[in-house]
Structure formats: C-alpha cells, structure tokens
C-alpha cells in the first residue's frame, strides 16, 4: 500500500465548546492534489489548523507521514488564509518569503545567503521576482496569494497544506497556481487544499475529502463526486447534528467524559 500522507483518526474539535468537527476519520495518499471540500462553516479550516497543531482536538489525533507533527515539522508547509494577516505590515515581498526559511534552530541567527537564494527561487516559481522589493501593502489579492505560496515553497517541504488559496485571486493567478500545484505533484509532493467552490473542485483535485462537520466521504474524486454525496454535504440535512451541537455548547456538557481516553496506542 502507498504511504499515507495524512491520517486523521476519530477527530473531534470544538470552538468555544461547540463541535466543529465530529468524529472525523480518514487518511490521504501521497503525491496527489487533495481537496478538502465543504460548505461554509463545515470545519474545513479547523481541520487544517488541527493538523497543523494550531487547534487542540477534544479527542482523536492526526498524523503526518505516520508520525506526530513535531517529528516531521520540516517536511510540512502551511499556507494560511490570505485574509488572516494584516497586509499593511511594514515588509516587502522578499521579507515575507524569507519567513519560510525561519526555523526553531535558526531563530536567533541572521538570514543566510542560502536562505536568500532559496527565497529568490521560490519567487521565481510564482513569477514575482520583479516584485521582490515591492511593499506587500501594494500587491493585488492574487499577488498576495502568490507571495504566501512562495513563502511556503521556500520551506522546501514534502507536504503542503493550503487554506483557500483560490479565494479572491484573478483568473491568471488561478491558472498559475494550478500549474504550480501540478508541477509539485509531479515532483512527488503532496498538496492538500481547503476549497469551498464545488464548480472547480472536480477539475482541480485528484482526491477529495467531503466535509460537513462530520465526514461525508473521502476518496478518489470519481468515487466522491457523486450527486448523492454532494447533496449530503451541501443539502443541510444535518439538523439533528447541529441541534445537538448547540445543546452541548449551551448546557456545558463535556464533549468526551474526562475518563474517556482515545489516544494513539503506544507502539
């Protein structure tokens, strides 16, 4: 069997004690472009943030290449949503791409020539080299997105997790990003993308995780992109689930009883 890039095991995550992901369980192959797809508020970003260790699960766990995140950090790259940062920050394009070279073990060291070379290459790949010294506040939405992707490329990882990279970008950027993703895939990299647009999902991805608080389906797109499954994800037939969620949140029920443990079995 092919190596698993990501394994999500019985994951439950809540926000202000309201469950956003409920018992989600799937694993993803390597060397594919994977879409995490679902309607607004279906927990896609939470999924990505939990995999990246930015949110703590109430129960369950996630693994990357069969190991906990901390063991494989340098092989993982993360592209947050473009709107999640203040683009008025005093920095130019190069400054931001260089952040992709920051590591725990070089935090107190100056940026090296090698870092600069790698950042320059990354900028070249997203076609922004001529903008290297442009203020980030002066970039268009599509250019900002490409800066984020360049920063991620500068990490030189094996797996890339991107949160809505196609939102608010122009058609040319969309094509350029897609082209880049395919090149990355051809080099054996795994790319996982949170995406909300059904229209394009079928065209962009090899493998799809269909999410709506719980897992609707996960698998090669031919198997997942069926009318029934899409309706299940987008059809809003989960009233029972959301009512239960509200109840748990307002009545302060624990999501798991404190005695209940479900961690990865020790090897």
């Amino acid at each position: 069997m092919m190596e698993k890039s990501i394994e999500v095991h019985n994951l439950t995550v809540s926000y202000h004690s309201k469950p956003v992901l409920w018992d989600v369980d799937f694993s993803l192959p390597t060397g594919k472009i994977v879409g995490i797809v679902g309607p607004n508020g279906s927990g896609k970003t939470t999924m990505l943030k939990t995999i990246m260790g930015l949110m703590k699960p109430d129960s369950g766990y996630t693994e990357i290449f069969g190991q906990p995140l901390d063991k494989v950090r340098e092989r993982v790259s993360y592209v947050p949503q473009r709107e999640s940062v203040d683009w008025d920050f005093p920095a130019d394009v190069m400054d931001v791409v260089l952040m992709g070279r920051y590591r725990k073990n070089n935090l107190f060291r100056r940026i090296s020539k090698e870092d600069k070379r790698i950042a320059t290459e990354a900028l070249e790949k997203v076609n922004l080299l001529e903008f290297a010294h442009r203020q980030i506040s002066q970039l268009s939405g599509g250019q900002q997105q490409r800066v984020f992707i360049a920063r991620s490329l500068a990490q030189q990882a094996d797996i890339y997790l991107m949160d809505e990279p196609f939102v608010g970008v122009d058609a040319a950027t969309e094509d350029a990003i897609l082209q880049l993703l395919r090149e990355m895939k051809n080099q054996g990299k795994t790319v996982i993308i949170v995406h909300h647009d059904l229209q394009t999902a079928n065209e962009y991805f090899d493998h799809i995780v269909l999410l709506n608080t719980r897992l609707v389906a996960a698998g090669p797109k031919e198997e997942v992109f069926t009318k029934e499954l899409l309706q299940e994800a987008y059809g809003g037939r989960l009233t029972v689930l959301s009512k239960l969620g509200d109840l748990i949140s307002t009545e302060e029920f624990p999501l798991r009883e404190p005695e209940f443990k479900e961690n990865k079995p020790e090897k």
Binding site: P80, V85, D86, D95, M99, L107
Partner: protein, 420 residues
Amino acid sequence: MDPIFLKVLVGTTLLASSAAVVGAFSYLKGQSLVGDAIAHALLPGVVLAFLLGDGRNPIFLIVGALISGLIAHYGIGYIHSRTKLKSDTAVSLVLSTFFGFGIMLMSLIQRSGQGQQAGLERYLLGKAAAITMDDVYVFSALAVILMVGVGLFYKGFQLMTFNEDFASAIGLPVPLIRFTFTVLTVLAITIGIQTVGVVLMAALLITPSAAARAWTKSLPSMLLLAAVFAASSAITGTYISSAIPKMPTGPWVVLVLAFFGFGSLIFAPEKGWLAKRRRAMANQNKTVRENVLKLMYQQEERNEVSVVLSAENMLSIRVMRPEKLRNALRDLKRRLLVVEHGSGYALTELGRSEGRRVVRLHRLWELYLTERLGMAADHIHPGAETMEHVITPEIEELLVKELGNPELDPHQSPIPYEEV
C-alpha cells in the same frame, strides 16, 4: 552642564527610545491599549514591593512591577481565550481591577502612616527630576537589555506580529517568544512610568511608532525611526522643563511626541494628509483637462472637421468652474495638447489622440456596465464620467479583450480606436 539636568536627560532618553522599540510591535499588532493596561496593572506590584522592602530601591520596585505586569498580561490572555468576552473587554477588566487593587493598597499604606509617598506618587504621574544616579545605572542596564532582547528576538517578534499561526506552524517556540515580549514590555513600562507616570505611558510606547510608520515601509527602519523620535522628544521635553521653572518633564516629553505624531500624519509622503490632498488636487485638475479634450474631440466628431473653441464656447457646452477651465487650458497649452487660434483653442494631433482615448474609455465602460453588470442604458453615463479618468492602459486592454474588440457603445456611438 548641571549634573541633575544631565542625569534626567540621559535617563529619559534611554527609556523613551527603548520603550519605543518594544512598543512598535504592540502598535503593529493593533494592541496599542495593552501597554496602557499593563502600565496600570503594575501598581499593586509596585505598592507591595514598597510595603515589603525599601521604597527607594529601583531593583525591588522593578521586580514587583514585573510580577504584577506578567500576571495581568496572562490574565488578559486567559480571560480572552476562556470566555466569549472580546479582548478589549478583557483588557479593561484587568486594567481596572488591578489599578483599583493598587489604589486600595496605597491608601492602606497611607493610613498605617508609612508615609514615604514620594516613591508612589512618582509612579502615578512620573517625576523625572527625581531620577538618581542609581536610577540612571538601572535604566541604562534595562535599555541595553531591551535593545539586545529585541535584536535577538527580531525574527520571532516580526513573525509573531505579522502571522502568529505561521510561526506556530513552522514550530517556532511561540510561547517563549510571547513571554519574552511581555517581559520586555513590562520592563519598558516599569522604567517608563518613572518619568511620565502610569497615565502617560501608553503615549511613550505607541506614539513614536505611529509617527515612524508614516515615513517608512520597512520594519528595521521603522524601529530605528521610532527610537529617534522618542529620543528627540525626551531631549526636547527635558530641555523645556529645565529651562522653564516648575515645569514637569514627563508631560513635556509626551507633548513633544504628540507633535511628532501629528506632524507625521500631516506631512508624511504618500500616507500624510498633505500628500493625499495634493494627489486629490492633481487628479481633479487631470479630470478637468481630460474633460476639455473630450469635449473638443466630440465637437470634431460631430462636425467632422477640426474646430476652434473659445473658453466661453466650452462653458456653454459643459458646466465647469471658469477658473478651473482657465488653468486647464493653460496646462493643456503647455503640454502641447491644444494650440491657441485667435481667441479660441484647437486640438493638436497629440491632444486629439488624448481626447479620443477619453471618449473611448467612456464608451468602453458604458458597454461594460450594460453587458457585464446588466445595467440599463439610461443609468450608465454618470459612472462612465468618472471612470474615463480612472481607467489605466492595462485595465483598458483588459476591457477591450473581455468585450471582444467592440465597435459600438450602448448608445450606438462608435468606439474610437487609435488608427494603427
């Protein structure tokens, strides 16, 4: 030079510039008020240190302040993450509780007759003139710690401020970075309030950065400029207060800083108020010039011959302020877009091409509005009157491409392209 003056000068300059450098990150994070809250929250620690030990020992007071400030800072974070309260609510909650507690402790001291009020009042309103030689040594040491700390943690602070999630995602020790930042902030505030007091401390942290941000676009130069603004304010403030009898130093430092702040908002290039006014004026003039060219081009289009129009003719065709028109005609003449013929004006070839461009943009935009945005033909003219002056050559190219090289606008007027 007067040794007291010199002590005050060195002390205030050191602390103002180091507070500015640390405060820059709070400013960029949009947490300008956190510094204010922490400054208030130091009071209980300071009073307790005063109660337990020697009130005039700066080290003792600094440790007390540090503990109190750290508790307050983590309290704000804890309340924010564990409740649904917004962060400004958490900040004011902690600020008022700690400050109230501090005041209460203070009145206890007063009642117990321990008397030495000078040390405490100093924390409320600041008293730069009371800086001792010991203070100067401590301030210098702290200033060095602050500068070295920011230098060492520069990458961490930069990434924490710009994109904390990314910092966590790549495995940087974000809790350590935050803790260091908080300790540096509390230290800066602790020495800062000795000159300007709790109430004015926020100004010392935030104003230099707000001023510096208007002039520069890179973080290192912003930090440097903030420190320079703060140091100059400290020097000027100290000088004023020593030159005029009975003038307090702290308020003067803050006032001079405010002067830098407002000055920057007005005079800074690009972002300053004046620069914006200038751009607006330039665009207004450009609009009038282009309207004149368009008007002349349309007359030629209608009559199919080149025309000579006087200013009065133009005013009878289009409503314009006469003095604006006069200026526009003078500019157009200088730019060789029109030439004078007797008492009237005629288009040059250059001017004709420019007039054609404006008419073309107008009609392209009208077509875009009807075709792409589904607007009715009788609603599109006003929008096009504006857009014809805004659309750049790149956008024009996009428009032409997207509309498929159209020939006619929605009113069936031809879209005039440049003949190749």
